[in-house]
Subunit: 389 residues, 2 copies
Amino acid sequence: MKNIAILGSTGSIGCQTLDVVRSHADEFAVYAISARSSVDLLISQAREFLPKVVCIADESKLTQLRDGLEGLPVTCYGGDKAIEEMVEHTEIDIVVAAMVGYAGLRPTIAAIRAGKTIAFANKETLVVAGELVCALAREHNVSLLPVDSEHSAIFQSLMGEDSGQVEKLLLTASGGPFRLMPARQLASVTAGVALKHPNLLMGAKITIDSATMMNKGFEVIEAKWLFSMPVSKIEVLVHPQSIIHSAVQFIDGSVKAQLGMPDMRLPIQFALTYPRREKSDFPRIDFFSLTDGLTFYKPDTEKFQCLKLAYEATRMGGNMPCVLNAANEVAVAAFLKGQIGFLQIPCLIEYAMEHISFNATPDLEAYMETDKQTRALTEERRENLKFEI
Amino acid sequence: MKNIAILGSTGSIGCQTLDVVRSHADEFAVYAISARSSVDLLISQAREFLPKVVCIADESKLTQLRDGLEGLPVTCYGGDKAIEEMVEHTEIDIVVAAMVGYAGLRPTIAAIRAGKTIAFANKETLVVAGELVCALAREHNVSLLPVDSEHSAIFQSLMGEDSGQVEKLLLTASGGPFRLMPARQLASVTAGVALKHPNLLMGAKITIDSATMMNKGFEVIEAKWLFSMPVSKIEVLVHPQSIIHSAVQFIDGSVKAQLGMPDMRLPIQFALTYPRREKSDFPRIDFFSLTDGLTFYKPDTEKFQCLKLAYEATRMGGNMPCVLNAANEVAVAAFLKGQIGFLQIPCLIEYAMEHISFNATPDLEAYMETDKQTRALTEERRENLKFEI
């Protein structure tokens, strides 16, 4: 029986992780769950899974959480600090880091320091502070198991292989909902349109990141750290069918790939059961129904500037990916509120990358400072922008 | 430095194996080579690679072989028995079994008994006597490394995995040159037409087997033995681009595949260097040039009866795959000589399967007897057939 803590249990990955646990009740117990502010869903999850500990980051909702779980053997806490403490419980075997955005960084670091296996779904943590997090994981001999379908695919393709014999990583991308839209129409895209992603059930932030292809840029950075691979050896392939989840090319020219239906439960389950696999009733690929075949295109980085900015930030290194991430969080939030247009997202990020001072060797405090400065600068710039659609 | 023996060095796989050795001269030495009757090529290979031992099965050409290598430090032998003795040399590390057809059985068994690692390119050996050969390999703790691109793909996809967690093997097939030809036109196909295979540089026998899809049937049987998998868990996918070389579906629904350009040197090199990979200059997949995409179709077993007969023979087991193989060798030889039409190949095989007595538990002698009887019966039937085109 593995004891699981889920950070961000009310988000898309969190809910799907609970789905997996539900169908393997004999193997996994939910020891702890946390959410930012979705208190109602958090209560209902706690009532079903009866974790020992439940945390809500938004302390104003702690009373509501306690009331909702009264009489149950569940201890409730509020605040970010409580989440960091929660992951240190010795009974926890594996921490699913499924918080959205930069908020995942500190609890993930706490979990690594506590020696927990991490199932990694919070890509921003690696984007912002990949070097630091990976060094810490090595130091504490902690496994970072990817949950993203792309990184899980690479991880699976590397099983039994010598990672020193990798020639390149082939990261596939659906291309997002605007792959075929002419560039000049992108300016008029609204949040409502962008929130319809063709393949995966995802949250709003990641859906917009997918539409701008920043999500793929983040995954390039994540892959760099997870697999210790220079960014020059990470190639993005647009693959609209999302069947090949990613691949690895080896020095002899052989390519290994992992394929599956677009269903996040598969990589989640694999991270939880690794190194074993467990039977599942997830849908299987029906190769004969793939009438368009499996196709591949070069990503259009002129049209999707966010992907280009992500490659640039990674090549620069230091605090630049942190700038990229913070500016993106601010810009996407503004886009979702209808405050800026779709094409202003990369403009704001580029502006931040040009104006925040470069720091080649940031420590955790420097990351925090860069994050704060970037958010302030991007907000300020956003307020002065004329809304263009 | 690994010492290699190549059985069938003058065939397509043999020549490509020597290509691989040529580009890794620091890692591999050719210790022994053999051929059936292509004495001129065998001489020129021996002059280049200077093996210690050279064998020619056709004893009438032994004098020519000796004359051609006079003055060189190479010992020459003739006859099938000499080939069996050759593989027992203690200096040999790995035996590449690249003979065509049933002739590969005895030397392969001799090599296994001598404890040599086998790089397996002679599928007929496993088709005819897979149970016996695999039992022997287990007994002598010998690795059977597949050289066929499909089985190498499955082998690579299984690295680091628990083979008990396989749900099915997905064996890809180009579909052969007649995939799109209407069934009624198949009757008039001649050897000249059939010998133009779209993808791989192959010998005449295997080219015809590919056109009838018997080759794929043999590969199903081979996969059954190599991976200890019931035939009900082996599915054939027609995949005309031949980029996905085969795949494995696991119990969690995850599929792992190995991809590459159609180039036999890759699986040959992998078998020789396993478990490592070595740098190569083989062409890489250019995903962006795959304009038709990667497509998949159900095999048409009504049109390609040989594939159906192979599944039937495997399901029956015992000596039936041996009957399948012997009848196929006779029928293909007759087709190549223009003695029978294309659609008479499966007719002859079906006739043999219906008329040779079934033996559920044959030993090596029984296989020999079945083989002899089947050849005689099929020849006799062939002589009585009216040539139909």
